[in-house]
Amino acid sequence: MTPSRSTPVADRAPARPAPAGAGAPVGRPSFWTTRRRDRLTGYLFIAPQLAGTVLFVLIPLGLVFWYSLHEWNVLADEFTFTGGENYAKLAADPNLPGVLRATGLFSAGLVVLNLALALFLAVLLNQKLRGTTFFRVLFFSPVVVSLVAWTIVWQFMLQDNGGVNGLLATVGVDGPNWLRSDGTAMISVIVVQVFKNVGLNMVLFLAALQGVPQELYEAARVDGASRWRTFWRITMPLISPTVLLTSIITVVGSLQVFAQIAILTQGGPGTSTTVLVYYLYQQAFQFHAFGYGSTLSVLLFAIVLALTVVQWQLRKRWVHHEN
């Protein structure tokens, strides 16, 4: 970080052999110019990740696309090429608008609530207060608890005569049947998921907040800026890279949430909490329609891709500094 640290490193450097692939001695220009060497190093560095992506992501994805052009009944062992038939079915699927609506609601609700709560908790725990370490651990603890155990406890608490309504009753409120009413099932699923994972984002935000130089706050106070204004004008811009990172992780994660829905609502009441991944899972694994399930996978992939591209573009406008 400081020159004094890099000097000894430099002293030892020439003793080491030249980088991979370079037979030529260091320094004198040969075919292996610095630039060429750099390029080669770049390719070698990304090679494991790239090979893994091709093998474990792109090829399977290509296969999924291939399956989506077929009708594939696993039990009957039928695998018939049907061309775009599954895509025609997708366009005409009467369930699809509802599924997309539920997916949008779920993701939007989850991202907004998760990021807002994570930021709120991080700001609270960033105060100079005794015992913040203790609270930090408490808020983080659900992250390491088994998802299935976590969800089952909440299912139990959210039932009509469960803990949540018991608590509400003590203040004279007659709570709804959370998981079984149209209006509340979705929000319940979202909240359960937020409590489970908000700790991770909280920790990332906390780290970012602690990286904001105190002098900036001092300066703002001298200028007489309100707390609110300081937060929006100083804190937010400075932690924007973290906001971007967490929002991408959370959006992508929200589109992949499945076990919680399977346990809490099984997509109901009606189909109000049937999100795309759950629908895909039903079609492929429960209804044995792997071809159509694959078609839904392709759709899901396209949606996630589009969303990420949008966020990635927005980064240029929002994020404070990235070249």
Binding site: S6, T41, T53, V57, R136, A149, I239, P241
Partner: protein, 274 residues
Amino acid sequence: MRTKVWLYGVLLVLCVPFVFPTWWMVTSSLKPNADIFAFPPALWPDDPSWSAWGQVFDMQPFAQQYWNSAYIALVVTLGTLAVSALAGYAFARVRFPGQNALFLVVLTGLLIPSEVTIVPLFRMFNSWGMVDTHWPLILVPIFGAPSVLATFIMRQFFITLPGELEEAARMDGLGRPAIFWRIAVPLAKPALGAVSIFTFLHSWNLYLEPIVFVQSQEKFTLPQALTQFVDVYQGPLWNVQLSAASMTAIPVLIVFVIAQRQFIEGLAHTGLKG
């Protein structure tokens, strides 16, 4: 003073939904099976008993399964650190043709839910004779979709490194690999810490993949083992399940309690800061 009281109040109220389920999980493991869903829930069992904790080990090779999960998570974490640090560094700091396009290609891994690719992956591993081994649980996370998030985090971190450092090292005659290993990696400890936590938890809690890929009880991982504590008629033995679940969560919590200061403060000093 008044703000402090107010702050503590808010924190305490907020804690309830985070803590109660874990509390319930641990205390219920000390109750007889029939009492667990009694209403209203008892905050502490009338007659706490550790027998369910012992049953966990009688019913399954739980110690073996614990070891499976632990070593898989460890190998995956180390492997992911290596793969993602290399790739993240190259994408952030090295210039080579096709860089952005290749980064986008890699990013697709971030976008794929595991439900989508599980069938083709299963076919691949089956044709390589790797079903009912731990290989799919190790190889896919290290090289496939899950490690892409790590690469992304590492890239975001390396981007914020000041360029002058590398310039100076280069002037001193260091090549890229040396710059990476001696300058970038030591500075990246906080980001590597974040990646370790993400990766370890991801591997530790993996559920769908083990169920699909692993078939022998002695090769099970913990989340998979948790579903196997049932009575004669497939009714779940809740107290045993919850004992096992507690045993999977508590060590990780303890590690976090010990390491969280270094983790958060480390991140704050250099890592994903503003």
